[in-house]
């Protein structure tokens, strides 16, 4: 590539960077700056109650698009008693109420400003209206509730303010608790959060509708483009600009509709709540972020994708222990409607063509009937799937008789654990398990399996053997030179070498590495594909995963290992995944400090590869070119600059490798020569905070010489 081409490409990339989206809100920053400044001041009116709001208040507000029921609002207080010194509520001071009214209006204004909405827009938001009603109901004198309530006024007020909180504030509060919510708390939280986001979405729907024409000019290459819209929002009508600035912060993305004809406001939350919410509750948010599932009656996804989505929704619903939340009810309706889209033909979504099921829908049905475990959709679809498969996918009487209400019934059974009784033999029985290695119990089981196979000469005798037991049996076979047995535990594939070649490769090798400390299998890692179960067994040395053994099993068959070529050829130097501990770092720094005094080679003679690499990096961090040069490999075969040239390179110090890296793996890279020398790559695993999609580790080239380990010139890849 010449300079001209390079410059041209850089120019083009510079233009591309204009597409970097912007969701910046300067008001939000100013607010945070102000909050920082106000942190030492005590609020005169408490905004936050001392107890968790999602335990204190159970709010069921379901207010969605017109096809759903209007929300029923109730509040039950779990407060444990009056605070000391609170006034009896029948004797509240007029001034208190007046102050609260003023304060409440300020709170409203604050949120209105955060959203940058007009009065009309802000007043139309569902949760704002609710908060207003609650304020009137529970705070204002003369109302039944305020007269009869024994809850302190301040606490009632604080509850009303909670109702007024924006989604962004709810998320922020949740993150600040720094706790992991249990499922119940998580479900209550997302119920409230998603309701508020939905109510805000309605307001934005109106904005989009009213400004459809001007928004439809936001196109790139002739197609509507959301990034273009964001990037050119300045100059658009104020409501649109304000929406584009503020909606993303409230969990709403302005995106192009699935049919690409218009913009829509859709639910979109980042990953920040993943660490706070229970897994099941978070799954509901993921499901919601994939809406809409259809548009104008037509599926928004390819049928196969929609089938996977349906499986995910089903699993989430069945795993939910907390019942009767609004979001669960809505998700159930989505589940049934999506199933209907995939299974029932309609004018807007045709699944048959010339009386025959379309191929893509047959594939989707196949995915559904292979759903893992006790699955309502599998239970529902299996009968007519088999029947129609025999009739070349033509509509038949079995298909005509099906009713989607049966699926709803199956789901209800699954939720209470009763569906399994109707699906004998379908349940996947291999539960997660782990053993410290070696383990007496596991060894006994392995012996039992070995005896069974020897006595029956039938591999089917292993049908009850778990994935871990199969791998352990393979290891047993290695140790006792039962090569036939070991080989027979593999699935015959193109990758599996012939018996003799396999034995040559595995000579002296263990299926379970010698330094392994734990072996485990996780049920959730199992998936069904083409009628077979696929999974893997993980092998650890302390906290580091050092090997994974993939396995496969036909239904009713036995687990078989899948052969994978060894990462490191037999006989090659390999030190697998060692965590870089504080002690190691300390030793390396000490070694460096000693070595840099006079570069005494005797210090390097017995130093390990990691120690020498660490010393080099420590020298780099300190801008110590001299020590770096002394550690370099000097060999005619390899390019190394002269000392003078090397010391002339500019440097102001490098990064601190102790912060950057957290583990190493060392793998021999070249054959060992006649002198016993060879090159290795020291793979440094990046600290998790530095890992990106494109990079999780860096290679560092070294060579084992007769004088010890040395570093290749320009070692870091």
């Amino acid at each position: 590539m010449d300079d001209k081409q390079f410059e041209q490409q850089m120019k083009l990339l510079k233009k591309t960077y204009e597409r970097v989206p912007s969701k910046f809100n300067s008001d939000e920053v100013l607010r945070k700056i102000e909050d920082e400044g106000n942190q030492t001041k005590e609020p005169t009116i408490p905004i936050k109650s001392p107890t968790s709001k999602w335990q204190k208040v159970s709010v069921w507000a379901v207010s969605l698009a017109s096809m759903f029921i209007i929300g029923i609002l109730s509040a039950s207080f779990l407060n444990e008693g009056k605070e000391q010194g609170d006034k009896p509520v029948t004797e509240f001071d007029e001034n208190d109420i007046e102050k609260l009214e003023i304060s409440y209006q300020e709170e409203r204004k604050k949120r209105q400003k955060m959203l940058d909405m007009t009065d009309e827009q802000f007043n139309s938001i569902g949760f704002v209206q609710f908060a207003d009603k609650e304020f009137a109901r529970t705070i204002k004198p003369g109302s039944l509730e305020s007269n009869q309530s024994d809850m302190p006024l301040k606490l009632r007020y604080s509850t009303v303010i909670d109702f007024l909180e924006l989604p962004s504030e709810m998320v922020q509060d949740a993150l600040e608790t720094k706790e992991k919510f249990n499922e119940e708390k998580s479900m209550l939280f997302i119920d409230e959060l998603t309701t508020k986001i939905d109510q805000l979405t309605y307001v934005y729907d109106v904005v989009i509708e009213e400004h459809r024409d001007v928004m439809s000019t936001a196109k790139m290459n002739g197609e509507l483009d959301a990034d273009y819209l964001y990037g050119h929002r300045t100059g658009l009508p104020k409501p649109v600009e304000s929406m584009l600035e503020n909606a993303p912060m409230q969990g709403i993305a302005i995106a192009v509709s699935p049919d690409k004809n218009r913009f829509i406001a859709k639910f979109h939350l980042g990953y920040e709540l993943r660490d706070v919410l229970s897994e099941t509750a978070y799954n509901y948010l993921e499901i919601k972020s994939n809406l809409p599932f259809w548009e104008a009656g037509e599926l928004s996804y390819e049928p196969a994708q929609a089938a996977h989505l349906l499986q995910y929704i089903e699993k989430t619903l069945i795993e939910t222990k907390t019942q009767n939340t609004g979001i669960q009810a809505v998700t159930k309706m989505h589940y049934l409607s999506l199933a209907e889209k995939l299974i029932i033909d309609s004018e807007s979504n045709k699944i048959f063509e010339n009386g025959k099921l379309k191929n893509e829908y047959a594939m989707a049905w196949d995915i559904l009937r292979n759903t893992m475990g006790t699955s309502p959709i599998k239970f529902f679809i299996d009968p007519f799937y088999k029947s129609m498969a025999k009739d070349e996918w033509r509509i038949n009487e079995t298909y005509k008789a099906l009713e989607i209400s049966d699926l709803s019934y199956a789901l209800s059974l699954a939720e209470v654990g009763d569906l399994a009784q109707l699906m004998p033999g379908e349940e996947f029985t291999f539960k997660s398990e782990s053993y410290f290695w070696p383990d007496v119990n596991l060894t006994q089981k392995v012996h039992g399996h070995y005896k069974a196979v020897e006595e029956t000469s039938d591999r089917q005798a292993l049908e009850d053997a778990t994935p871990v037991e199969i791998v352990a049996l393979a290891q047993f076979a290695s140790e006792f030179e039962k090569s036939d047995l070991r080989y027979s535990l593999y699935r015959v594939t193109d990758q599996l070498p012939e018996f003799d070649d396999y034995n040559l490769i595995m000579k002296g090798q263990n299926v379970i590495p010698e330094d392994a400390t734990l072996i485990r299998y996780i049920e959730e890692m199992t998936y069904l594909q083409d009628g077979e179960y696929h999974t893997s067994v993980e092998i650890f040395k302390d906290d580091n995963l050092i090997k994974t053994v993939p396995l496969v099993r036909q239904k009713g068959g036995v687990w078989q290992m899948i052969y994978e070529e060894p990462l490191v050829p037999p006989g090659y130097f390999h030190e697998g995944h060692i965590a870089i501990t504080d002690d190691m770092e300390y030793n390396i720094v000490n070694l460096y400090e000693s070595y840099k005094q006079d570069h005494n080679f005797s210090l390097l003679q017995n130093a390990s590869a990691l120690e020498v690499a660490g010393m080099y990096l420590e020298a780099d961090k300190n801008g110590d070119l001299e020590t770096q040069y002394e550690l370099l490999l000097k060999d005619d075969q390899y390019v190394t600059p002269s000392r003078e040239e090397f010391l002339s390179y500019p440097t102001d110090g490098g990064h601190d490798w102790k912060v950057q890296f957290e583990a190493v793996e060392i793998i021999q890279d070249t054959p060992t020569d006649a002198n016993g020398e060879f090159s290795v790559v020291v793979w440094f695993d990046l600290n998790y905070s530095l890992v990106t999609d494109d990079e999780y580790r860096r290679g560092f080239q070294m060579r084992k010489t007769v004088d010890g380990w040395r570093v290749h010139f320009m070692p870091m890849q």
């Binding site: 850089m10 591309t16 008001d27 660490d275 996977h308």
Partner: protein, 185 residues
Amino acid sequence: MNELELIERAQKGDKNAYGDLMRLHHRTVEKFAFQIGVKADDIQDVTQEVFIKLYRFLHQFQRDRFTTWLYKITLNSARDYYRKEQREKDKEEKIQEDVNFGVTTRSAESKILVFEEDRELHEAIQLLDEKYRIPLALFYFQELTYEQIGDVMNIPLATVKTRLLRAKDQLKSALSQKGDAEYGR
């Protein structure tokens, strides 16, 4: 009102003036953050952090060094962000998602880097050592002079030139070899 006047007013505590400054410069910060490796989904957080920090230091620097400080703080904020963030990679959840949930959305990055050439070049830049990546981004994408780059990175002019040359060589080589590993000190 020109920018220097805005800065002066902001330094005196005028929040509106600071708001105007932010609106003038937030695109610079967003793009620069992305160019030096901040993920698209994290840009908003980092950008906010930059302007919050900038406000804290606003009174401590001269008006005519505002841009220098903007870049310096963006660099530091990008580094700090990834050091502070408590992100655990849950491998089991990821496998679960990959296997059972075939629906994925386009990554934010792919919406920016639509064309393969751009993606390759951007990724090759991210693979450069920071000491080469930063001056490269400042020179080619932010159009700073050598002197300004030296000011931002606190390195001599000669070092700026050397690093830019090395950065260019490494990039050209990486792109020519299309994915082969490049060595850096």
